[in-house]
Symmetry: C2
Subunit: 214 residues, 2 copies
């Protein structure tokens, strides 16, 4: 019975994800679902991306359990920002995103970043209609995350290793990290960067600009 | 209907939590449920605690989505270690712990650490029968975690800030972090420490030894 309910939830989600996907397609908007643990740097990555993509019109949907903290940070740079407060729910779903999309000017945007709730597990299973899932991991979380939380590394189109400025003072073994990702996912690019120093961000910006639809 | 199911799940969990709680009480074992995001340092904290609590008999239950990685690390120090692989589930529940307890020598132990799945949201709602929930946050995750993930900070008996060795090279504002915790929880001690350098661990060890039941 529990399984049946879960299947209903995912079926319901899928319907709304298709509505979102069609909207994104009709408006030629590139939509990126940004996933990570709490504190890996999702908001920082989005802000650094906005700063470097001044030629594009960008919108952001911010997902959090509580607070408008991240949306306020992003409001300093762009207007099309919507905060979703899930009120306890551990992930965004397509229906929440569908409602949020009504509050931004989708047809005039080139790129939408959806910052998911900080959670390396639950958000992975919920299609939001996005073009790509991008997973952030960070040096300070340790090199064993692909081993312990494999699903996000399998399902994401880009894997970002953030906080590489901490590599010199950390025992993070990059070769191990890469090897363990490659055992799960042989294709998705792995981009090393630091939102703090800016190192490596060019590669991420290059990936985005190559995938913009307009 | 969905709500009813969730209520059933929590009711079922509660029954098993009571079984565990009675077992812990009968055997005078101090049981600590360790909660945090992925990579905040739960395993490191447990290893550093084992090293400093040589006069006590310690058991560990390791919860992970996948792998036996953490249990193997701890096996180097003690024998009573059980790995629970949740197979995708985002938290431990009391029934999983009840089964795991059959595989360690509870009656001869003084302390059991239960390392929950790395997730700052879902595990908080599941009582495992433990004496105390202990929440780890780490400097590298940023000072806004109490604002964005309040429930764990409300429900935990001790809040640990790990990785304080990173404070000098971080923009983490400890006063803000503490203030935001105190708005949620006026009582639980906040212990600052670094599992890497050992700084502050004495305060944590003192708290444990004061709470041992035998």
């Amino acid at each position: 019975m529990e399984i049946e309910i879960i299947s209903d939830v995912l079926e319901y989600n899928k319907e709304h994800a298709e509505v979102n996907r069609q909207l994104f397609k009709d408006n030629k908007v590139l939509v990126i679902n940004v996933l990570s643990s709490p504190g890996s740097g999702k908001t920082s990555l989005i802000i650094q991306s906005i700063k470097r993509l001044a030629n594009f019109k960008i919108g952001v949907i911010e997902g959090d359990i509580a607070s408008t903290y991240d949306a306020e940070k992003i409001k300093k740079y762009i207007n099309d920002v919507v905060q979703i407060n899930t009120g306890g729910t551990c992930h965004l779903n397509a229906s929440m995103v569908e409602k949020a999309l009504k509050r931004i000017d989708v047809k005039n945007l080139d790129i939408i970043f959806i910052e998911n709730v900080g959670n390396l597990i639950c958000p992975i299973g919920f299609d939001l209609g996005e073009d790509y899932k991008v997973l952030l991991s960070s040096v300070s979380e340790g090199d064993d995350k692909p081993v312990k939380y494999p699903k996000g590394f399998i399902k994401s189109s880009v894997i970002i290793l953030n906080k590489i400025d901490l590599l010199p003072i950390s025992d993070f073994n990059y070769n191990f990290f890469e090897k363990k990702i490659r055992e799960l996912n042989s294709e998705s690019p792995i981009i090393k960067l630091s939102c703090k120093t800016g190192e490596g961000l060019d590669n991420w910006i290059k990936w985005i600009t190559e995938n913009v639809k307009k």
